[in-house]
């Protein structure tokens, strides 16, 4: 089934492009983002960060900062009230460094003052005596280097052995690929407001992806029972993975408890770049074996992810990279080895695509290399090996749900190519307003890529969401702690309740931790399934009571778990995932061969969506996700120089502008309902980012004839090749 337009749907219900409940406040500037909050008697928090990637702290003198009028308090590690460590998977990162700093930007002291400028000056006045240590900056070296943290340098090591690992193919292609460090670069900087209460607890208003896990981490670091930390979601200006970890949450709560005043903190853009996790840089060595007629025999891969100084989600990112390392193809034999390691580079963790992006760049580059070696069309090679429902991934797990990969490839590849403009405006050629292009030296290239990943949390994580639906006087109220980060869950929650209860008015209550259980994280393309499912079932329970003739207010709460998954065994085998989602991308680029400048002309895509619940929101996720993929392919990278971040600003960390972003052609949204998924719908957020980078890279290779084994592709990679 393929839909190309909006189905006939009742306004406001499933299948319709229902209006966002937060739309009017957002267009009129009335929506309260976390950085817009204030409270009476509020003071401004600030964090002093390490300028060194690795150093021993000999001493910290906060006296000069305290002497500045307007400074309320200055805190160091000794002032942390509970555990001085936090982390999503392992609590290995200090709230405030006490003996050693392990990355540039690590928090060393926190303070509060009457004005942001006073706070900044106070931070500059703190005297920290550092003894610089040699930074460990190479991920390969980190595997065997002396540990830079008591927990060691290996966050996770993994081997997947499938079939006959000694099998050989008639044709072998081998290469090493690299992916640079991408940043989520959301627009709304990290910010929050912590308000102390009279009982030693704290109310935290925070832009985050995962309220309850923030709460738990904050409570542990404050030495408080969890119920004394009450978290309410404040308006979130984008997330993309970077708000899954704790950033300032503990700091502002500590400052609030120490000063007994509301404390607000807003990161500058530089602090934002230093203060959240990034996408893991990857080094991936691949060897593909195939028969002469283009059937994959074996995939060998060795994947090394640089996790930076602290664990964050490095382990699960590595599991994903390895599970999806071979791509959505039938691969009878595989040997995949992975390491996620600790270095003195900035910590890395979740970003849209979560390990699958890096692997996709490598496996799709390999498929193109193989096609060239075999003299086959790259699309044809992919079709010959395409995964179908019932096939296995290298972990041995059967893909039991929808896997319409062949239809994705065929529909995407069938989109007519955009015509060549015989006399293009200079602004629409590579180099844009810089007027550098010579049309005679511009070549067009076309590239294709397919990718996939898991939906929801995997490998034994008890993933669930909680929702409550209350029906009173014909008005339904939904309470769910799912973080609305811009993706539109609040719209979807309304649509679901309207659909189930046949009411028009649905109120979505603020997300908080006091009256409702966890909804899990807004990540892994999981909220449509997990929280959408929780809302649906709570609403169904309400409807059952209505149907039974019950009058008066009716309220039902539902905790929705997905089917259990299991950790991989010592051979990397096991039922680790619930469901998969697929997409195909075709990129058309123009490349200035002499200057190495690239203009992406068009991205065509087909995506496996299960069912379209809100066409406009699906389109928005696809276009936005592709923009991040295009960015990774040609411009986005955190540049490191011996552990120092050289481009922590929007001046030098470049994300696509409206003049860089190509038109997106959605060839097909393939609607094959996913068994077990609420309404048959799959999450749509991540697939657009997974294979779009690989498609752009393939197109640039097609235009230039170069190997280009690294993204982002820099102008010098082409011009000086």
């Amino acid at each position: 089934m393929t839909v190309t337009g909006e189905r006939t749907a009742t306004a406001g219900r499933l299948g319709h492009s229902a209006a966002r409940p937060d739309g009017v406040p957002k267009v009129s500037g009335q929506f309260a983002f976390s950085s817009d909050l204030s409270a009476d008697g509020m003071v401004w928090g600030h964090v002093l960060r390490s300028p060194h990637p690795h150093a021993r702290i000999r001493s910290i003198d906060i006296g000069p900062a305290l002497a500045i009028p307007g400074v309320h308090t200055v805190l160091t590690a000794d002032d942390v009230l509970g555990d001085n460590s936090f982390g999503l998977e392992h609590a290995d990162q200090p709230v405030l460094a006490h003996d050693v700093v392990r990355f540039t930007g690590e928090a060393v002291a926190a303070l509060a003052a009457d004005h942001p400028d006073t706070a900044r000056r106070a931070a500059q006045a703190i005297v920290v005596d550092y003894e610089p240590l040699e930074p460990l900056i190479d991920a390969e070296e980190a595997i065997t280097a002396p540990p830079i943290h008591p927990a060691g340098n290996i966050f996770r090591q993994l081997v997947i052995r499938q079939g006959d690992t000694s099998a050989e193919g008639e044709v072998v292609v081998e290469a090493t690929y690299e992916v640079g460090m991408q940043d989520q670069a959301f627009m709304g900087p990290e910010s929050g407001l912590a308000i102390p209460d009279d009982d030693g607890g704290v109310d935290l208003h925070m832009s985050t992806q995962w309220l309850h896990v923030d709460r738990d981490q904050v409570a542990a670091c404050l030495g408080l029972p969890t119920e004394k930390v009450r978290l309410t979601l404040a308006g979130v200006g984008g997330a993309f993975g970077a708000r899954e970890d704790v950033s300032m949450q503990v700091h502002i709560c500590l400052l609030a408890l120490h000063t007994r005043r509301p404390v607000k903190m807003v990161f500058t853009r530089e602090e934002s770049f230093l203060g959240h996790v990034h996408r893991h840089p990857a080094r991936m060595h691949y060897r593909h074996h195939a028969t002469r007629d283009g059937r994959l025999v074996k995939v060998e891969a060795r994947i090394v992810l640089d996790g930076g100084a602290y664990a964050s989600t490095s382990g699960p990112v590595l599991v994903n990279a390895c599970c999806f390392a071979a791509g959505p193809y039938v691969v009878p034999n595989a040997l995949i080895e992975g390491w996620a390691v600790r270095t003195n580079n900035p910590p890395c963790g979740a970003m849209r695509g979560f390990g699958a992006v890096q692997a996709c760049f490598a496996h799709e580059s390999q498929m193109d290399l193989l096609a060239a070696e075999l003299g086959m069309d790259p699309v044809e090679l992919r079709l010959r090996n395409v995964m179908k429902s019932g096939d296995r991934i290298p972990t041995g797990q059967v893909v039991s749900g929808a896997a319409p990969v062949e239809e994705l490839i065929r529909t995407c590849a069938a989109v007519p190519l955009p015509p060549l403009d015989p006399s293009p405006a200079v602004m629409s050629m590579p180099g844009g307003s810089g007027r550098t292009a010579d049309p005679a030296r511009v070549r067009r290239g076309v590239g294709f890529a397919v990718g996939f990943k898991n939906l929801m949390y995997s490998a034994g994580f008890d993933d669930y969401s909680t929702a409550r639906v209350r029906l009173e006087d014909g008005v339904a109220t939904v309470t769910c702690a799912a973080a609305e980060v811009g993706q539109g869950f609040v719209t979807l929650a309304q649509q679901i309740v309207r659909e189930v209860l046949a009411v028009d008015e649905v109120v979505v209550a603020p997300a908080e931790t006091v009256t409702i259980g966890s909804a899990g994280s807004t990540s892994a393309s999981r909220q449509t399934w997990m929280s959408g499912g929780a809302v649906e079932r709570a609403a169904l329970a309400v409807r059952a009571r209505v149907d039974a003739g019950e009058a008066g207010p009716i309220e039902e709460t539902y905790e929705h778990h997905h089917p259990p998954t299991f950790p991989l065994d010592e051979n990397g085998q096991g039922v680790a995932h619930v469901s998969y989602v697929f997409a195909a991308h075709r990129a058309v680029v123009d490349v200035d061969l002499d200057l190495g400048l690239v203009r992406v002309v068009e991205i065509a895509t087909s995506q496996d969506v299960g069912r379209v619940l809100n066409p406009l929101q699906v389109t928005g996720q696809i276009e936005g996700g592709i923009a991040q993929g295009v960015g990774l392919a040609v411009m986005e990278e955190i540049v490191l120089d011996r552990g120092l971040v050289r481009n922590a600003s929007f001046t030098d960390y470049l994300i696509p502008t409206a003049l860089d972003m190509p038109d997106v052609t959605i060839a097909a949204l393939v609607e094959e309902p996913e068994p077990g998924a609420p309404f048959g719908a799959k999450g749509v957020g991540e697939p657009p980012t997974i294979s779009s980078s690989a498609a752009v890279a393939a197109a640039v290779r097609d235009a230039t004839g170069l190997a280009l084994p690294r993204i982002p592709i820099r102008p010098q990679d082409i011009a000086l090749a």
Binding site: D594, V639, D652, T657, L659, P715, Q716, L720
Partner: protein
């Protein structure tokens, strides 16, 4: 303002120049244009001034965003003296002369003497850039800027080529390839000698290529987080050749 926002500067007093009419706008004085220090990039992008000094308009259009071009000024670009200052290669190629006012009176300084290093000028304390004088020339003008994004990007390299058909000369200003804007004198001489001035055409396509190479040789490019020295030299060679071939179309070989 960026530095104030970031806490790197803390002004104790500020003098606003935005409402000093003498510093705004531009006017023509014979064969010269006098550009006020508070002329914005938006003012330079279009209209009559853009026709008179096209390379300046081309450079202005590459600077920042429309919002920045609405407030950022020529005087600011000069005073900041960044190696990546976008108008500076154009002004260098035009042999621009900067008018400076101070307590001791005014003086006129060639741009290349005013800018002495990375973000350094020969302005004395209390001195103020008030205007810039550039000639009105007959001949092609080209400004090319390489950045890794199609808009709103700090340059990796910049090349300005200005042709003076009456003076029978070619001038090339280069940016982001040295601490200060660079004039590629050797390349200019070469191009001047290999131009058919009666027809206003380069002697052949190879001249543009050689001109580009000579421009690249006059740089002192470095590696930094935006690019590499090798790429910068290559990009200067390519852009300079393209710019010259646009400004003085070559006779067929």
């Amino acid at each position: 303002m960026v530095e104030v926002n970031a806490g790197r500067r803390r002004p104790s007093s500020v003098v606003s120049l935005t409402r000093v009419p003498e510093l705004a706008g531009w006017h023509r004085e014979g064969d010269e244009i006098v550009l006020g220090a508070c002329l914005t990039y938006a003012d330079m992008e279009r209209g009559e001034l853009a026709a008179l000094v096209p390379a300046l308009a081309q450079a202005a259009r590459t600077i920042g965003s429309p919002q920045i071009r609405a407030v950022a000024t020529l005087g600011g670009n000069i005073g900041t003296a960044s190696p990546a200052g976008d108008t500076l290669p154009v002004l260098a190629a035009l042999d621009a002369v900067v008018e400076v006012a101070g307590r001791a009176g005014g003086r006129r300084v060639p741009l290349l003497e005013l800018i002495t290093g990375v973000k350094k000028t020969s302005l004395a304390p209390g001195e103020l850039v008030t205007a810039v004088r550039v000639p009105v020339l007959r001949g092609g003008q080209e400004f090319l800027k390489v950045g890794t994004r199609n808009a709103m990007v700090i340059s990796v390299v910049m090349v300005a080529v200005v042709v003076d058909l009456d003076g029978q000369s070619v001038r090339a200003g280069l940016g982001s390839v040295a601490p200060v804007p660079v004039r590629a004198r050797e390349a200019e001489r070469y191009a001047g000698e290999h131009t058919d001035w009666s027809r206003g055409r380069l002697a052949g396509p190879a001249v543009a290529r050689r001109f580009g190479e000579l421009c690249a040789e006059s740089t002192a490019a470095i590696d930094d987080h935006r690019s590499t020295a090798d790429y910068r030299r290559r990009a200067v060679a390519v852009c300079a050749a393209r710019a010259l071939a646009r400004a003085l179309p070559p006779l067929e070989a």
